[in-house]
Subunit: 243 residues, 2 copies
DNA sequence: TCAATAGTGTCTTTTAGACATTATGCT
DNA sequence: AGCATAATGTCTAAAAGACACTATTGA
């Protein structure tokens, strides 16, 4: 009933699945492991919980992400915990999984600041084999992101501060992997009253310029839930390039 | 970057929030702590992960629940992980939180088998002060149960194998804390095609007997998600006795 | 004036909310 | 018979789905 002496320490880490859009496709941020096990292999940014520094697991996730990638994401939430005796060759271990979203520009800023460390971006539809059970963690995160996007403003965290309606629309389509009716989508977002116009306009080439929006300041950095999920069209219409 | 020697072991436990209906109200199963810290105080059924016995955290939750309460719930899922340096006086700790649902009859069976151990049932609307951060864990579990009930067949796990339509209806109302239109609710469940008739009837007193149903066998013990949440009526109609 | 994208309008279909009505058994 | 609960039907209102249409710019 009590913890016996023959039990080694249980390893406790945090691992973060950080998503961003790149080339209109959802990508994951990965790092190379600096040491054994899996030295040199790709893995999620992660590391041990430091009892002295980290007041809780969220703080640990923030610290690890900052240390390994230089990124401080505006959205970071606990995903799931992966805990068993087989996922780490060193013994029974717990990974406190987090998932995070950033706008691509934040990535570029971070990458230039710390050129030695570095991280790599991978399209979620072609993530290579990762260390430990990190492929599974990515899968769970992807699932969660897709599910939650259907009934929340979560995908807005993948956008820069100002964006056009077309961009939000596109972002939802890329994240959810389906085509969404432009009109219905706009109606929904308008009724929900989550966006506000920026008075500046912007041209998308040689055509009619689009209105810029931002997430309403009073609910910026607050996730807004829908009363029902976004309607997904009936048959097999899929967003460009995604299934 | 690596785990230093001055770090004590991180404590890793599982704690289970087990819900059941009793007297038409949602209750939580609590136990008394056999030793320090909080000896004799109420707490969630929980305990250390045993590296030798538990292949993963789910197995640990099952074992702990069986050991402490004699109950093997049909529904058990990971809830959230609570991990910080302050929740346990012994040091930095991780609680892998699970939440579970059972039909009341399972409780009665367990309680009579093991009269020494025992657990206590508390109405969720009047849970006393608990050990550690267990009140918070209960709150999170309640929230999750309510949220998930709105778009799934989760509350069916609170019912016995056979039940009437009125019982499912009532159960949803008690769990969600709102009155649901009987007709619309029935329509929804019928369209979803999750229930099947049992050929036996049953009397509810001196009146027309109700048809008994069970969850369709092909999806028994499988959670079924709705494409949209259950409609909650417009204004302030609340279920009997709940807000 | 044309190409190309932004943004709006409108019709149809579906689903939900409200509530009336019928059904069935017991005493 | 009459009551109490079970079960169904119907009307209305509100969303969603589909898609056509208008608007606005630069070339």
């Amino acid at each position: 009933m009590t913890q016996t002496n023959r039990d080694r320490n249980i390893i406790v880490t945090v691992d973060v699945v950080l998503f961003a859009l790149h080339d209109k496709r959802l990508h994951v941020v990965l790092t190379r492991r600096p040491r054994e096990p899996y030295a040199g292999q790709l893995a999620l940014p992660g590391g041990y919980v430091h009892q002295q520094e980290d007041i809780d697991s969220l703080a640990a996730a923030v610290r690890v992400l900052r240390t390994k990638t230089g990124i401080a994401p505006p959205y970071l939430e606990q995903l799931y915990s992966f805990a068993d005796g087989a996922r780490d060759p060193r013994g029974w271990s717990v990974s406190l999984g987090y998932f995070a979203l950033v706008d691509e520009s934040v990535l570029r800023a971070a990458q230039s600041v710390e050129p030695g460390f570095g991280f790599e971006l991978f399209d979620v539809s072609s993530v290579p084999r990762l260390s430990f059970d990190h492929n599974r963690i990515v899968d769970v995160a992807l699932q969660r992101l897709r599910d939650k996007s259907a009934y929340s403003t979560l995908p807005c965290y993948l956008l820069p501060e100002q964006f056009t309606f077309a961009q939000v629309h596109e972002t939802y389509e890329h994240v959810m992997g389906v085509a969404l009716d432009k009109s219905a989508f706009r109606r929904k977002l308008t009724e929900m009253d989550v966006l506000e116009e920026c008075k500046g306009q912007r041209v998308g080439g040689a055509h009619r310029p689009a209105q810029l929006f931002r997430v309403k300041t009073d609910l910026a950095h607050r996730l807004r839930l829908l009363d029902r999920p976004l309607a997904v069209p009936n048959p097999d219409k899929t967003a460009t390039g995604l299934a």
